[in-house]
């Protein structure tokens, strides 16, 4: 069996008396779509935040390519090639698509103006943004310099995913990417996810939407009471099984055994 690309062992995170993660494990293999599901308060977001650098676990170890790593901020995780699309999308509504795609890693001109006066290379940024959006079939957006707030919900999601896909060289984490979208827009985001996977980048998909999870995921990580309960194959289990495991109504065979 191949080595996991990104893995975590025994992650613990306490907030005062609340234990959000209680020795949680996690494994993501190359090229897969791993769904993470769990009831509200099961500790999914803490797990994801630990993997994306937004939260520092109190205990435990995260490994990328088998090497232990620790993230002090989302910036560190990004530098390691882990991009996260947050549920809030983390876009600045008043700024342009291009500005948003390059937020925090802008391209500066190579010439004198760039070196000494920090002049941005807008043409390069615009053409890169346009290229990335077209790669994901999003080039129906008219104008790369239009503010993000003038886009529809699905388009914004598309921009956030395109940003992650453009820079996420190793892993892309998507937090509830379809929660705020209508049926049609969700459809497109799911297609987008599969597009990104087909380019070889593994994806962690956090979602409450069982049909979406069962449609795209290769494996499903079920989180319960702050830890990984089990990982199931969506082809061998039904949605009601998954929900039952998630809520504790049923115990999966692997765990019971």
């Amino acid at each position: 069996m191949t080595e996991p690309l990104l893995s975590a062992r025994n992650l613990v995170k306490r907030y005062g008396r609340v234990t959000a993660m209680d020795h949680a494990d996690f494994d993501l293999y190359p090229g897969e779509i791993l769904a993470v599901i769990g009831d509200n308060g099961a500790g999914k977001s803490s797990l994801i935040k630990a993997l994306s650098g937004a939260v520092r676990p109190d205990e435990g170890e995260i490994r990328l390519d088998g090497k232990p790593i620790s993230f002090d901020s989302p910036l560190d995780a990004r530098k390691a090639g882990i991009e996260t699309v947050y549920q809030t999308l983390a876009l600045s509504p008043a700024l342009s698509i291009s500005d948003n795609m390059f937020m925090g890693r802008e391209i500066v001109r190579k010439n004198f103006m760039g070196k000494f006066f920090g002049m941005l290379d807008k043409p390069a940024m615009d053409s890169f943004a346009r290229e990335k959006l077209s790669e994901l079939g999003l080039m129906t957006i008219q104008n790369i310099s239009q503010p993000v707030e003038t886009l529809s919900g699905g388009q914004r999601q598309g921009v956030a995913v395109a940003r992650a896909a453009a820079f996420g060289s190793r892993v892309i984490i998507l937090d509830e990417p379809t929660a705020a979208l209508g049926v049609k827009e969700s459809r497109r985001v799911l297609d987008l996810i599969q597009d990104v996977r087909s380019r070889g980048i593994p994806i962690v998909l956090i979602s409450h939407n069982m049909p979406h999870v069962f449609e795209v995921a290769d494996r499903i990580h079920i989180h319960r009471l702050g830890k990984r309960l089990c990982v199931i194959n969506p082809k061998e289990h039904s949605m009601s099984d998954a929900v039952a495991y998630m809520t504790g109504a049923k115990v999966p065979d692997e765990v019971a055994a």
């Binding site: 876009l91 937020m103 790669e135 080039m139 129906t140 297609d191």
Partner: protein, 351 residues
């Protein structure tokens, strides 16, 4: 939504750009969208209309001399408004800019006149003190996480007190400056430009705005200032070190206040610890009329320049028309309310 072709994603990347529905929009809607895209157009329109109106009322209004006089009158507050704009763009507000300006002018004057320090060095120290005041505001806002309004309300009083302490409540007279530190009055120097009489202070104001325009639109720093003002959480998640950005904004604002201080010495001619008492509010007025949103992240840096000019034009126009000074205040008040109402309306734009 369901039966119109959705422009979000098309599977064929090469396919032509989808069109958004435009025909159904009313004129009002389109105006709203236009202003949303070009928020500086509001102050530009107001400025042009007020120029025309006052030009029709008083024939002298359009003389080069009068127009350049307006520029001279707004130079100090305009420069200060540039500093204020930066802070307001980050969704903050700086009530201390006026006090900082007076304090720095007192420091510059004191060092040069009373301590005999060479004037250029006194100016550099003054500008550094400006940066220091900004750093204090910035530290309080970013480290102690105090609201900018309260922070700068506090530092306003502190800087005013320091200003009275350092000056001994005494004015450094114009003749003294001429004799010992004429460089401090540099920005008051007048020159002719085809009938118009400008000061170097006017040029300074224009340069400050030009530099800020470059920094805000052409550098990564500027984009980050907007992002932090627009939505700080999103900016942080997108990898921006929001505290660093905020800190830099307050420090730059402090330096600009220092430049405004130098400029104010030239404008007034002397250094008085009690001058420019209303400069704080006047700078905020210019920023708000200039279309920068008090909620941060929106508006063009050139707006406040126009905002300052609008106030100047109203004051000059009403004075030339022989109207009582109180009506200048009255008009400015309505302008502020109008500007904020327009901003709220533009922000409600629907996509």
């Amino acid at each position: 939504m369901s039966d119109s072709p959705d422009p979000v994603v098309q599977r064929n990347a090469g396919e032509t750009v989808a069109q958004f529905d435009h025909h159904s929009r009313s004129l009002l809607d389109r105006t709203q969208h236009f202003l949303h895209q070009y928020p500086t157009m509001v102050p530009v329109i107001v400025l042009v209309l007020s120029l025309i109106a006052f030009g029709m009322i008083s024939p002298n209004f359009f003389s080069a001399f009068n127009l350049s006089l307006i520029l001279q009158q707004v130079a100090v507050v305009g420069t200060l408004a540039a500093a204020q704009s930066l802070v307001i763009l980050t969704a903050g507000i700086d009530l201390s800019v006026g006090a900082v300006m007076v304090l720095i002018s007192v420091i510059m004057g004191n060092l040069a006149v009373n301590f005999g320090i060479p004037v250029p060095i006194a100016i550099v120290i003054g500008l550094a003190c400006g940066a220091g005041t900004g750093a204090l505001n910035g530290l309080l806002v970013t480290r102690l996480k105090l609201p900018p309004f309260i922070t700068t309300l506090g530092t306003w009083n502190i800087f005013l007190a320091l200003n009275y302490y350092l000056s001994g409540r005494e004015t450094i007279r114009s003749q003294t400056l001429d004799a010992e530190a004429s460089l401090l009055k540099f920005f008051g120097t007048r020159f002719n430009l085809g009938g118009a009489v400008l000061t170097y202070g006017v040029i300074l104001m224009i340069i400050v705005f030009a530099v800020l325009y470059y920094a805000l639109y052409k550098t990564a720093w500027g984009r980050r200032v907007y992002a932090v003002g627009d939505d700080p959480e999103s900016a942080a998640l997108a990898g921006i070190q929001t505290k660093k950005v905020l800190m830099s904004v307050y420090v730059v604002a402090g330096v600009i206040c220092g430049l405004a201080a130098w400029s104010s010495i030239g404008r007034v001619g002397s250094i008085s610890p009690t001058s420019f008492f209303e400069a704080n509010l006047e700078s905020i007025t210019a920023v708000v009329i200039g279309g920068i949103s008090l909620f941060g992240g929106r508006g063009s840096i050139l707006g406040p320049l126009i905002g300052a000019l609008i106030v100047g034009v109203f004051n000059s126009g009403l004075r030339l028309a022989g109207v009582d000074v109180l009506w200048q205040l009255f008009a400015t008040g309505w302008l502020i309310i109008f500007a904020v109402a327009i901003d709220q309306w533009i922000r409600k734009v629907s996509s």
